[in-house]
Amino acid sequence: MSTPVSTPSRAPRSTPAPWRPVLGSWLTAYRRTWRGSLFGRFLSPLMFLLSIGLGLGSLVDTSAGGVGGVPYLQYVVPGILAAQAMWVAMGESTYPVMGAIRWNAKYHAMLATPVGINDILIGHLLYVALQITGATAIFLAVAALFGSFSSWWAVLALPITVLTGMAFAVPVFAFSAKQETDSGFNILFRFIMTPLFLFSGVFFPVDQLPALLRPVAWLTPLWHGVEANRSLALGSPDLVGVAGNTAYQLVVIAVGLWLARRAFTKRLVV
């Protein structure tokens, strides 16, 4: 049989957007796991809606008349929506990034081709953004069926929530690229994500926190996501406030990109 490379093509091929095959590669891998993942995407909002939204909600509504007059289900769902985006972002930007550097060397395989560090980052981050978009859309749909929203403004929570998720995913890409072992992820999950989940205004207004802790909540992208989502979902949004929350998340994403690019370069180009 003949060898397949008898005529080397000399002209350098042009690859206009090498991030596209990077995204394509992650999507190809996703085709193996999408069924299980989709099931989880439906299950997670259902569990939250039933337990916190309806279960705890009926208690809050009967004993306190909701939160500031808003039924607890409608109060808490926009918050959980933002928090879920954070969790999805964490899942997609911790182990997969470390794996692509240390375990299966997926990034190294890409770097042996015309694909560069920026393409790897853009392609992978777009994949994460798609995951967050899918999870958020499903959550919104399920929550809407339960009557969690009183206004069509809630649709705008979709892009806001994707930004919220990316405000975690991008800096965590930088963090993950620096880790030698996965023990750093336990610290991240236990001592950063879990407290954020509990104290960023998802379940109760941050005004209830000790005055010292409130500014901490304001610094986190999650609080901004929760605020913006809630403002939209409740119908008469404070658009200036929402714009401010969005701007803050964009700044976090921009700084995260700079850090991630540095960390990736340091790790992969030696």
Binding site: P8, S25, T28, A29, N104, A109, V269
Partner: protein, 312 residues
Amino acid sequence: MTDSDPDLLLHATGLTKTFGDFTAVDGIDFAVERGESFGFLGPNGAGKSSTMKMVGCVSPATGGRLRVFGLDPATDGPAIRARLGVVPQKDTLDEELTVEENLWIYGRYFGLSRSEVRSRTRELLSFAQLTDRAATRVEPLSGGMKRRLTIARSLISRPEILLLDEPTTGLDPQARHVLWDRLFRLKRSGVTLVLTTHYMDEAEQLCDRLVVMDHGKIVAQGSPRSLIGEYSTREVLELRFDTDDHAQHASAIVGIGERIEVLPDRLLVYAEDGDAAAAEVHRRGVRPMSSLVRRSTLEDVFLHLTGRTLID
């Protein structure tokens, strides 16, 4: 030779790579022309892989000058990588995906269209003798199959140079021979091969020309035959004694052959005529446990140049 010569594919002068205080590659010079099969031979840690990574434009040189296709890796990395095929030391296959999916994904990194990638995948799977595994997941495949898939993958862009970093390390003898056969076919079809190895037989089978590296430096270069001619004798007599210290037997055979090397487990007598040397040993009344005459190999060249064996 100038950089504008289209057949001068690789050209390095004073190429250096340091990691902190450690100098992995210490100012080496080499040139590779189109159609050649060129090898870096040396023990682990000699600087072979670091050199390959610089040539592959994934690791920037610390010093010296390197041109690949006449281009500078520091500024033209993607353009150079578009024309290289890379077989890394450790397979970087996506084990969760199927054999053919691995090829499809990789071809897309080079900007090839889907239809082009699919037709090349068929050719390459046949070349790599993996056609019947096309739709199988990679993870359960044998080491030899994974290696052949990695080579097939590296060929999907029809590279002008194929870089192979220790292509058969860790494979059993049969899998190595299958792989050598495939590489030999590529070489015959005109692909420029650049490989690193610490196996003598591999270098002798595949390389037209090679450099011997040790501690980041090139200590000798030439064709396998010319290196053996220059640094060794035609034949080698290997003597083993029933002892813990072979050095004590060396004095008894002094003067036989051109040179004697003492290894922990044997004595090597370098001679043009190995059988004559063995007869002389016997005539002197020396009775080794075993004696063997063989042809000189690159291992002997390396031993002579560095005083050490390649694989410790």
